[in-house]
Symmetry: C2
Subunit: 169 residues, 2 copies
């Protein structure tokens, strides 16, 4: 496995300790029916999602603005270690093909490393390291509301999976 020591000038890090097991966080990140329920901070929606969970496989989402405009994104999975680590990038699309938006210098190229570690009894230390090409891209992502956005989305993930835990009881 690759070591992902964050570089503070280039990377953004979002970290949380939560009281749901890492297997549930993994499920929320790797199944379209879950992604559609938590991935985009309300009132935005994720109206479609496709996941081909293998290196080179497609990670496609369609986000929808409150005004009803669709924003499709297709990324590519890079590393998959079940219940432990998920790496995907917006710089490539299905089958490792370079993303067109990146070839044009548009869009925001980043790679996300989602790390899950067991914490206490049934809890998880969740770390999302989001790595960029240069300080400008990092700043652009931060100014777009990275911390607030990833925070709200992750709150939705946790609330969703707690509801599922209750159902199972």
């Amino acid at each position: 496995m690759t070591n992902h020591q964050p570089d503070p000038t280039l990377d953004l890090v979002f970290e949380r300790i939560v009281d749901i097991p890492k297997e549930l966080v993994w499920t929320a990140w790797t199944t379209p029916e879950h992604i559609k329920q938590w991935f985009t901070p309300a009132p935005w929606k994720t109206v479609d999602c496709e996941i081909d969970l293998r290196p080179g496989g497609m990670f496609r989402t369609v986000m929808q603005s409150p005004e009803g405009q669709d924003f499709p994104n297709t990324g590519c999975f890079l590393e998959i270690v079940e219940n432990q680590k998920l790496v995907w990038t917006s710089a490539l699309t299905t089958g490792y093909r370079p993303a067109k938006a990146q070839a044009d210098g548009l869009g925001l190229a980043f790679t996300a490393v989602i790390s899950l570690e067991a914490h206490g009894a049934g809890g998880t230390r969740y770390t999302a390291t989001v790595i960029h090409a240069d300080p400008e891209s990092r700043k652009k992502h931060e100014d777009m509301g990275f911390h607030d956005g990833w925070g709200k989305a992750f709150d939705q993930l946790v609330a969703l999976m707690k509801k599922e835990m209750k159902k199972e009881k």
Copy 2:
């Protein structure tokens, strides 16, 4: 493993059948001391090379023009199946970080899939599939002399490894 069915509108394919075993082609592609001797069609040179052969690992080369100007490139390995398949991309750099040139819309973003298959007694079917974001990038790469360049470099690879085979006898 990902299936790499080439798309003729987006990909360039270079294929050869040669009379050296695939293990030697693999060695030529994965060791810096070999890369430096074949990777760049003469009179260009590859004056430096660094290889960290794992998914997310660095693939760095420094090409030098006949006038002595250096052109450093750092790509990223994606898939490594010994003696069989090597995938790397110029769209990412070490640790899956998006490449700066791509974030700026400069440079040529491509992913190379090198496939090796045994052919007859001690021969190899060599296929390099080079995949691009869009038809414009494909055409740009072709116009830069893709077929001639990859052909001359591969001739150098074969000549080098034949010399090594003789030494070993």
